[in-house]
Symmetry: C2
Subunit: 227 residues, 2 copies
DNA sequence: AATTTCACCGATAGTACTATCGGTGAAAAT
DNA sequence: ATTTTCACCGATAGTACTATCGGTGAAATT
């Protein structure tokens, strides 16, 4: 058995980690409004005043939380991209581009929930983090799409690729939350939808990349044949 | 000139409306956390204690706000659907299905902002409203898609249609916010992207509506020809 | 062994907000 | 003309939280 005795700095670090964990849990369960030094300290098992031994104020704790969350998110994203690149063929790679983020989100739903809340909330200390995270996601996704062969050459196409990435990301988040809420039990089905959504958009990109007209000619849809 | 003299009930109603307006403005600018009876009453030009002449508490004001906002939103949605139905041909109708909601959102961005914030915030009094609004949007959109000919017969297809509607709605919101943030200056471009996104998804729906296999056979994409 | 350090404690002053109270004057009812 | 009603006011008790302070004991240093 290892020594259960801890040095002072080890004990301090442990308490600090407990505070961060407690804050994350409360943030997820009650939202930013439910967060207070009283609750966090109590949940971590120390006195309210001792909170200030570890953090200057709640803002600082949230900053640390955002940094760590961002790190975890980026690591998950990197891993997902690496994994998708290893897919055997183009088709699998395309599907994985959408399925893997879904799975990653559902593994740590609290990070997405917190991000979605903070994203448009001017009172949130995490807003900058949320906006930055969303922007990073958007760029990474645009890069993924570019890697699938849909590079954009001119200004308009670049903007379109960005819009597609943003739209798909929003859809990914929405479907992931729907899955977590129990509405869409099968993640693979959701991934199929996302794959199809992106195909449609990229088809537009491709069909008009050389022309200057709005050109919807080759994507006009007729209603499906009913059985 | 009409009589500027107001009856007591007219004056009271005016004050009530000022409170609601003030609350909406503060909610949009500072978020739910920035809302207090002090600020709202002051902004409406009355004493803090007089707030309670009009509302039992802040919750009640928010409930009223949600009711009125929901009413406005539903009216806008109804009008948009009516307008889209009047489009001359299928192509225009399809585009309008996506462009009109975008325009509607950008006309009253505060409602969407408030809704997006409250949607996943457990501490928000407006959460129920936001969830209900999102669900209504989803259903309406699914109905719109069905009206375009993409009816779903079995359970799986219905779920898929719902997922597509939810995904497209999320993308619509995201692009609208992107437009309001200045990233996507042209709403028509955004509408094109949404149209294309939905086409891709509906193509999937159509291609597999009679089969039981995942069947991506006819939607395999090859990278676009580079110039 | 003596001294210093410091993570943690309880107490508390300060801040912001909620919700109630009695008072006031003008509108409304009699 | 008199009385009643009531929208609004200022004052204030109560609540929840923040952030600081001096004190304490065990770990760390000397």
């Amino acid at each position: 058995m290892t020594d259960t005795r801890l040095t002072r700095s080890e004990a301090k670090d442990l308490t600090r980690r407990r505070l961060i964990r407690a804050a994350l849990a409360i943030l997820d369960e009650e939202g930013e409004a439910g967060l207070s030094t009283v609750k966090v300290a109590k949940a971590a098992g120390i006195a309210q005043s001792s909170f200030y031994v570890h953090f200057k104020d709640m803002q600082e704790l949230l900053r640390v939380l955002a940094d760590e969350g961002g790190e975890r998110l980026f690591e998950a994203m990197r891993a997902a991209r690496r994994k998708a690149r290893e897919a055997p063929d183009d088709l699998e790679r395309h599907r994985d581009t959408f399925r893997i983020p879904l799975v990653a989100i559902c593994r740590h739903p609290e990070l997405l929930r917190i991000q979605l809340r903070a994203r448009y909330d001017p009172s949130s200390s995490l807003r900058d983090f949320a906006v930055a995270t969303a922007a990073a996601h958007r760029e990474h996704h645009a890069a993924d799409l570019a890697a699938l062969g849909y590079t954009a050459d001119d200004e308009r196409d670049r903007r379109r690729l960005e819009m597609i990435a943003e739209g798909i990301n929003a859809a990914t988040n929405a479907l992931a939350m729907g899955h977590l809420e129990g509405r869409y039990p099968d993640l693979d089905e959701a991934a199929d939808i996302l794959t199809a959504l992106s195909r449609g958009a990229l088809r537009l990109l491709r069909s008009t990349s050389a022309k200057t007209t709005p050109a919807e000619a080759d994507v006009i849809s007729e209603p499906p044949a009913r059985s």
